[in-house]
């Protein structure tokens, strides 16, 4: 049957076709829909899970692959940093059943902290990587990746990018899928227990094997050469290939596409470059292929001029696009012009639209309560990764640091040690708490920090599309399970003061924070209130315009997208309002009413 799916859906369906038996991952844009798609299609016999983080996911999958089951792990590129400890070792140990690690890169970056390049990780770990250019291709290539993994008993990386992950296309898929069973874990400590000796031996084997994989890749059908014999060639990869193709570059010069950046298909590249005098590399993120070509040219004394990012022809940062690829191609070949565009140089100034916390988001109330409580005091607010990072925006302005998942807690601790007179706060989401927050709390308790931890518990992983986590009581096998109780976890760690509060009750929250600020040690507040996208209340607030004095305090203080001024009075957009009542609690003249409990 034909299915119109997102690139991530194509990856999911391709893995099911390949007989995958275990899929684990941690959400992260642009990778999250892979696991969600597996869940939507029949997948009997597949163990499916959102793990607490990428390291856990990779380890769960590795054990399955040791047992001969085909396993897939999904994450966004920075997730691979978290999973890099098991990955580096697993690269030495190897697998039995095919194991593919999907790490989705995000050039731009559009929804990420970094512009790192997973192809470099493949090189670093010395394992193969596949780099699809379209959803259709991702569907096929993920199957090739499983075959390659099994053939060489090595984990394999699969690196789509945002525009492949989030592009839709039709793929032809079977009516049903069969998960391939493994033959069970066979104990063999010489194979599965990593020791210096094993690593030494396997290191040598891996480098020998990679030469062979490079040869396989030289014959791989997705490493392609198009266009006629020419002295100029564009070498590209991933979605950049699609942009270059869109421009018809193969009519202007030779077009070489490398879909397997590591191990580099050296024989293929040498042949493809036969007769070529000038190369332009068009690729996103790092100049990986460009560097491989420079090495190749050095080793074989090829008389080729290679340009790309390293000589400043192509920008290092940001996404590639059809326009940029077209301009670069034309400049390189003197070729055909880009399509004519409407000139918009004279356009009126446009309003900027930075993303904001939704109307009714409980995070807004939590931040506002802490802000009010700390008015006039020296306080630092360490943020973390999630929707609540948006608490940085004006007028809340409540995020002083944001580094990586879980870092807010340990950074608040660090600030306390060097500046003990300030009140140090850490804000962490519930999903982030489970992912990498807990160890930080242990660290802070053990090392005697004075700080206040605010867990913003909205009962979901909101930023990445509302995935369940251990605190939600649901898992991806469709089961209702015991909730892991954040308050009990904190008590178990030894946090002496753990209080659960309703952030939508402004006065109580402000008093609570003031009180905690006077106490020693690690204190925790769990601000508990569900994300409005998972449980949207029916109630609404409304402004009584006869009472509104037009002071704009509601607008100035909390930045709720449902509030605007019309004709000198505050107005609430009923389509957006959820009746959280925060504005009603700050209106100095009591002009806003209609909160659910009134």
């Amino acid at each position: 049957m034909k299915e119109y799916v997102m690139g991530n859906g194509a990856i999911a369906l391709g893995s099911l076709k390949a007989g995958v038996g275990l899929v684990a991952g941690y959400p992260g844009t642009p990778s999250s829909e892979i696991i969600e798609t597996v869940a939507k299609y029949p997948h009997a016999g597949v163990h499916l899970e959102w793990s607490v983080n990428e390291k856990a996911a990779l380890e769960v999958a590795a054990a399955a692959a040791y047992s001969g089951v085909r396993a897939m792990v999904t994450m966004k590129q920075v997730g691979l940093n978290v999973a890099s400890d098991p990955l580096m070792s697993l690269a030495y140990v190897g697998v039995k059943g095919g194991m593919v690690i999907v790490s989705a890169d995000d050039p731009g970056p559009i929804s990420s902290q970094t512009e790192q390049d997973t192809r470099r990780f493949a090189d670093f770990a010395r394992i193969p990587v596949f780099d699809p250019a379209s959803p259709e291709e991702a569907y096929e290539m993920i199957q090739d990746a499983f075959a390659c993994s099994e053939k060489y008993a090595t984990p394999v990386l699969f690196r789509p990018t945002t525009r492949v992950c989030h592009a839709y296309a039709s793929v032809e898929v079977p009516e049903s899928f069969t998960a391939r069973a493994g033959d069970g874990f066979v104990r063999d400590s010489k194979r599965w227990v990593i020791f210096p000796r094993l690593s030494y031996i396997n290191h040598g084997r891996i480098e020998e094997r990679n030469v062979q994989i490079g040869k396989d890749f030289s014959a791989y059908a997705r490493n392609t050469v198009e266009g006629t014999a020419a002295e100029k060639a564009i070498v590209t990869s991933g979605v950049s290939y699609a942009y270059v193709k869109e421009h018809g570059a193969e009519e202007q010069c030779r077009l070489i596409r490398i879909a397997t950046a590591f191990p580099f298909p050296e024989d293929f590249a040498r042949k493809a470059l036969d007769g070529v005098k000038e190369v332009l590399c068009i690729e996103e993120l790092s100049p990986y292929i460009e560097e491989q070509l420079l090495k190749l040219a050095g080793r074989y004394h090829l008389d080729i001029r290679i340009s790309g990012k390293l000589d400043g022809t192509v920008p290092h940062n940001g996404e590639m696009s059809a326009e940029l690829a077209g301009r670069l191609t034309d400049a390189f070949t003197g070729g055909i012009a880009l399509p004519e565009c409407i000139d918009t140089a004279d356009a009126p100034a446009l309003p900027a639209r930075p993303p904001v916390l939704c109307a009714g988001c409980p995070h807004r109330a939590s931040f506002y309560a802490v802000k009010q409580a700390m008015k006039g005091r020296r306080a630092f607010f360490c943020g973390d990764i999630g929707c609540y990072t948006l608490g940085n925006a004006m007028p809340l302005d409540m995020v002083d640091t944001c580094l990586c998942m879980g870092a807010g807690i340990t950074m608040a601790q660090g600030l306390y040690h060097v500046d003990p007179d300030a009140v140090c706060f850490a804000f962490v989401g519930d999903s982030t708490f489970f992912a990498s927050g807990m160890t930080g709390v242990v660290n802070a308790v053990y090392n005697e920090a004075d700080m206040i931890l605010c867990v913003l518990d909205n009962s979901t992983t909101a930023m990445t599309g509302h995935q369940p986590h251990p605190g939600t009581g649901r898992n991806m096998m469709g089961n209702i399970v015991d909730k892991v109780d954040i308050a009990k976890v904190l008590e178990g760690i030894g946090v002496k003061r753990v209080v659960t509060a309703d952030p939508l009750d402004l006065q109580a929250s402000v008093s609570l924070i003031r009180e905690l600020a006077e106490e020693k040690g690690v204190k925790a507040v769990i601000f508990k209130s569900p994300c409005i996208a998972i449980s949207r209340p029916d109630s609404k607030c409304a402004v009584d315009s006869s009472k509104c004095i037009g002071c704009q305090k509601c607008i100035r203080e909390i930045g709720c997208p449902a509030l605007t001024m019309i004709g000198g009075k505050a107005v609430i957009d009923a389509d957006l309002c959820t009746g959280c009542g925060l504005c009603a609690q700050i209106c100095p003249v009591g002009a806003i009413g209609g909160k659910k409990d009134e």
């Binding site: 989030h166 592009a167 839709y168 979605v239 399509p339 409407i342 309003p351 993303p355 930045g559």
Partner: protein
């Protein structure tokens, strides 16, 4: 058929449903279709776009600048922001009702309208007004699809689109949405007679 359609708006306006219905309908009529959506951070009130590419030979997941024959803009400033995607001679269906950037003052939509009018063939529509009979601006995505279809700039038949709305909208909202589509279609046919 070879056609690129760019849909733009602000996160939360329902652009994705319009894109899904148009893509599915174009496929139903035997076309190869590719599309791409803004997913992630920007969905929280930022600028969002859906790129629908109908026909063979579309390699780039995003529409190249100057290639879209049709721009469906859910917001006037977003129409201006994305105008460079439109090909010279293309049509823009534009909502004149502005969405203020969250947390800041609203802006005047009139200069946007005036600018667009100078630059391309426009069909303007006020979402507040056309959605009033339906009680919520949430119907605008279906109405604007109807307008484009009625104006004959979508290149997809009324029947195919109606069928896709039936299939893709939650059962209890189907009837209202079909009415919204029909209302949009009427506006579109009227507009195409005027231009």
């Amino acid at each position: 058929m070879n056609k690129d359609i760019l849909i733009c708006g602000v996160g939360g306006q329902g652009t994705v449903l319009a894109s899904k219905i148009i893509a599915a309908a174009a496929m139903e009529e035997g076309n190869a279709v590719h599309s791409a959506e803004t997913i992630g951070m920007a969905q929280r009130g930022g600028s969002v776009t859906s790129h629908v590419r109908i026909g063979e030979g579309a390699y780039s997941p995003l529409i190249p600048h100057g290639s879209a024959e049709l721009l469906l803009a859910f917001e006037p400033a977003e129409a201006v922001r994305n105008l460079s995607y439109l090909c010279p001679g293309g049509t823009a269906v534009v909502n004149t009702s502005v969405v203020a950037p969250a947390g800041s003052a609203s802006y005047d939509g009139e200069p946007m309208r005036a600018y667009l009018e100078k630059k391309c063939r426009c069909i303007f529509v006020d979402s507040e007004e056309v959605c009033r009979p339906f009680g919520s601006v949430r119907f605008f995505n279906i109405i604007i699809t109807g307008i484009a279809a009625g104006a004959g700039v979508l290149g997809i038949s009324r029947e195919t689109l109606t069928e896709q709305i039936r299939r893709r909208v939650k059962p209890k909202f189907v009837e209202e949405n079909l009415k919204a589509f029909a209302a949009g279609y009427e506006i579109g046919s009227g507009a195409s007679r005027q231009v």
